[in-house]
């Protein structure tokens, strides 16, 4: 496929702004150096190359953030983003932040978004800059949401279901915090959100929530990662174009799924032959964003179909001529229109 790569490169030139192209292409190239044929991963080089940013108690564009260790045995860290709390008198920002974490339920409802970053289960962390920026955006977009970004354990060091367990731990923690509750009924108005592998995690945590009686106001899935043993039309047609190849998709599934499992494992293919029936469960409404130039789009559309057949509401936002990662830089209509859809979804379901 070496020669054909050049043809496809020309295609991506026309649909993606130049700086987005540089960004996503850079990820593609650097990631290719990290995956080893034997299934291991160059974690050290990966951490070296990732661009990161620390949490910041000082408001930046009206948003503050802090890191919290939720579970020491698994080193589960979350980064919490919230609107900068009002500072009274001579209070330092840190004092205001501490007070905010201890306040009782607020009478005015606000959404809590538990966010799972992408990276095909292997890359990125809560402090990766692209995701820090995205989470900060969500805070202001949704009129003052609290966003909790979860630093789930990554593969290949930690396979399925570690990431799901970590998501579940974060959700339970959020349920235990009075300051995250709001409205007349002092409810936790929580949304599960994620891009790529994060979207996959959001789905599975939502299933667990539904099984356990924790109410989720909505799921927001951005190009969620699903797959299966079969090869779909979009996978074959878009393989190697627009920054993503089937080979790497296969590698990441192999690294994430339990040893010996194939891609019809329910973690990868929730509505496949080994899928779990969701019909009777109070599964939340979903907002599903699909990019037409994402080679996994057929699986995402099949996911939507699976939800509908099980009687659950799903709103599919199909972006024509969008590639993976369009939501990292605010330089296309895709970005702004999808953000607006998210805002609207959160507001109407909060």
């Amino acid at each position: 496929m070496a020669g054909s790569n050049e043809v496809y490169a020309n295609e991506s030139r026309t649909v993606v702004p130049l700086n987005t192209r540089v960004l996503i292409h850079n990820f593609k190239v650097s990631y290719s150096m990290l995956r080893r044929q034997d299934g291991s991963f160059d974690r050290h080089l990966s951490e070296y190359l990732e661009r990161k940013v620390p949490a910041n108690a000082k408001p930046v564009d009206g948003v503050v953030s802090l890191d919290l260790l939720l579970d020491r045995p698994t080193n589960l860290l979350v980064r919490i983003y919230l609107p900068a709390p009002a500072v009274s008198g001579n209070e330092l920002p840190q004092q205001a932040l501490l007070s905010a974490l201890q306040r009782p339920p607020s009478p005015d409802p606000f959404p809590v978004i538990i966010f799972f970053h992408g990276g095909s289960f292997a890359h990125s962390s809560i402090n990766t800059t692209i995701y820090d920026i995205l989470c900060r955006r969500f805070v202001t977009l949704c009129g003052g949401a609290v966003v909790i970004s979860v630093n789930y354990r990554r593969s290949p060091e930690f396979r399925c279901p570690c990431a799901y367990d970590d998501g579940w731990t974060a959700l339970k923690w959020a349920s235990s915090q009075p300051w995250l509750r709001s409205g007349e009924d002092a409810k936790l108005r929580v949304f599960l959100a994620g891009d790529s592998s994060g979207g996959n995690i959001a789905h599975h945590v939502a299933v667990r929530a539904a099984e356990s009686g924790i109410h989720i106001s909505g799921n927001i899935l951005l190009n969620p990662l699903f797959g299966g043993n079969g090869r779909t039309e979009s996978e074959l047609e878009l393989d190697g174009k627009y920054f993503v190849a089937l080979d790497d998709r296969d590698w990441y599934w192999k690294a994430f799924l339990p040893e010996g499992a194939d891609r019809d494992h329910p973690a990868c293919n929730p509505f496949g032959p080994n899928g779990v029936k969701l019909d009777e469960l109070p599964f939340p409404k979903s907002l599903l964003v699909v990019a037409s130039l994402d080679l996994t789009k057929d699986w995402q559309l099949a996911y939507a179909e699976g939800l509908r057949k099980a009687g659950h509401e799903v709103n599919v936002i199909f972006r024509d001529q969008a590639t993976v990662g369009f939501y990292f830089l605010p330089n296309t209509n895709h970005y702004y229109e999808v953000m607006e859809e998210i805002r609207s979804f959160v507001n109407s379901n909060c």
């Binding site: 190239v29 190359l49 020491r72 080193n75 860290l77 330092l92 004092q95």
Partner: protein, 512 residues
């Protein structure tokens, strides 16, 4: 800990309570206004510096690199082998990063550093009674609030209020476990505040005590080892191809940094250089002899020279030798208003070093306003104490005098930051961003620490330290982090070619 209970430990709010600017928020600098080329702001916002005018070029070169990788893979050389010998530098500078990979990188066998195996105690589990957690959390957070309010009152010279707050805080202490966590570190800060307004004299220090505490701190956590190891890797690389080398250590102490370098030099392909080591400052007896013994046993020609503290001016450099000057947690001691930082940096430059390694705490404890300084320190040392506790280096209940020596070592720093002013306040930690400016002004330019140093630091941390430590690369420097919070940063520098180095007119007696 019951399986479903969540050890939230919100007391780890101390985690990363950074007060800095958002690192990637565009800030006007002198450089920006004078430079003609603009960087793409959106890419800068996500951590990559690319000139707008260069974007197309970079995109094309990325494609070329991608094609090369794909073609090689098709020919049977997967990327992991193609790029295995590549050393990466400063990934934010995309253009350079891509170019360095595009050029043929001959497999370089850069000698690697192997630390002496140090056995650390296994990480202790943090068992807090789940029931008590609620009231302890509240009391802990209230204590932190009160500490900051007290510091504020001291800043406003309201010692009456400060005294009453201190009394109130002492009443809170029984509600908080003082054997660990925020209770323990708060007590140190509380005592320091008390000391400050009681005008108690600083406890007398003995050099022997200093050395003992330092040595315990060295063992208890990876901070100093990280400093040594990372600096050594940079020095080793700078000494590549040189057969006479001279290391000047600004603070020798027990000389713990040097056995590993001596051993690495011994194993250097092509044979070891002749090594001169000049150790400045307080040092344990016979440290020079011990190092000489080690060097002899591994076949490194070695000579040692001890220099009294503050006498960098008396160090002599021989023509033809490559000089490395090493400063681990030393430069910040020179930052008081009357401090000799500028003359010391000039002296360093005059020695024409091939490399200057600078390791400093990644914290801002030199802010002029007391409250700012106090707050920064409170959260920084909370993180440090947390890391010590997890590494098993924490002691018992501090109120009955069971602090581990490593904690007492840190307590000294806390006391200095909180109680002292003027020339007595020597623990004037500044973040690497400010050192970068200062060193730039003094005629130095950065030498980027690369992915090989990062990888080795990362591997050694994994092997010898508890979970929770990490390494991060920022602008060519490497930092040790605890749960994402940067603790200490290692960097390397060389004199800029264009910087004028005046011949020393006279040697000044530097006291520090």
């Amino acid at each position: 800990m019951p399986k479903d209970a969540i050890d939230t430990n919100p007391l780890v709010l101390r985690n990363t309570f950074a007060m800095g600017r958002h690192p990637y928020h565009p800030q006007p600098t002198d450089e920006d206004s004078s430079s003609a080329s603009e960087t793409d702001t959106l890419l800068a916002g996500v951590g990559y510096t690319v000139r707008s005018s260069d974007l197309l070029n970079v995109a094309d070169r990325l494609e070329k690199l991608d094609s090369t990788i794909i073609a090689a893979a098709a020919a049977g050389v997967p990327p992991e082998f193609l790029c295995s010998s590549a050393v990466h530098y400063n990934p934010s500078d995309l253009a350079s990063w891509i170019d360095s990979l595009l050029t043929e990188v001959p497999p370089q066998s850069s000698p690697s550093m192997w630390m002496d195996a140090v056995c650390l105690p296994p990480p202790s589990s943090f068992s807090i009674d789940a029931h008590r957690l609620g009231e302890e959390e509240d009391a802990g957070i209230r204590l932190v609030h009160l500490l900051m309010t007290c510091a504020d009152s001291i800043q406003h010279d309201d010692h009456v209020l400060a005294r009453s707050l201190i009394d109130e805080m002492r009443l809170l202490l029984p509600l908080i476990g003082v054997g660990y966590g925020i209770g323990k570190v708060s007590i140190f800060f509380l005592d320091a505040l008390d000391r400050r307004i009681s005008f108690l004299p600083q406890p007398t220090k003995s050099v022997l005590e200093d050395e003992i505490l330092y040595s315990h701190f060295y063992e208890a956590c990876p901070n100093i080892k990280f400093a040594h190891f990372t600096a050594n890797q940079a020095i080793l690389e700078a000494f590549n191809g040189c057969d006479r080398v001279h290391v000047i250590d600004l603070s020798l102490m027990h000389g713990l940094q040097w056995p590993a370098l001596i051993q690495a030099l011994a194993l250097r392909p092509g044979g070891p250089p002749a090594l001169r080591l000049t150790g400045i400052g307080p040092q344990t007896p016979k440290v020079g002899l011990r190092l000489a013994e080690l060097a002899r046993s591994v076949g490194v020609p070695f000579s040692f020279h001890a220099v009294a503290a503050g006498r960098l001016d008396s160090v002599r450099v021989k023509p033809g030798e490559a000089v490395a000057i090493n400063s681990v947690l030393q430069l910040h001691l020179l930052l008081s208003e009357t401090g000799p930082i500028d003359s010391v940096l000039t002296l360093i430059r005059e020695l024409r070093p091939k490399i200057l390694t600078v390791v400093e705490q990644e914290a801002d404890h030199n802010k002029p306003a007391f409250l700012d300084r106090f707050t920064e320190a409170l959260f920084y040392y909370s993180t440090l104490f947390d890391s010590l506790a997890a590494s098993g280096g924490g002691g018992g209940r501090v109120d009955v005098g069971c602090s581990a020596p490593a904690e007492v070592y840190l307590q000294r720093e806390i006391c200095n930051i909180v109680c002292c002013e003027g020339s007595e306040r020597v623990e004037r930690h500044e973040p690497m961003g400010r050192w970068r400016v200062r060193l730039g002004r003094a005629g130095f330019e950065p030498m980027h620490l690369g992915s090989n140093a990062f990888r080795q630091a990362s591997m050694l941390l994994k092997l010898f330290s508890s979970e929770g430590y990490g390494v991060e690369e920022v602008e060519g420097c490497l930092s040790l982090s605890w749960h994402g919070r940067l603790l200490i940063t290692a960097s390397a520098w060389r004199a800029r070619a264009d910087s004028a180095v005046a011949p020393p007119a006279c040697h000044r007696y530097i006291v520090w």
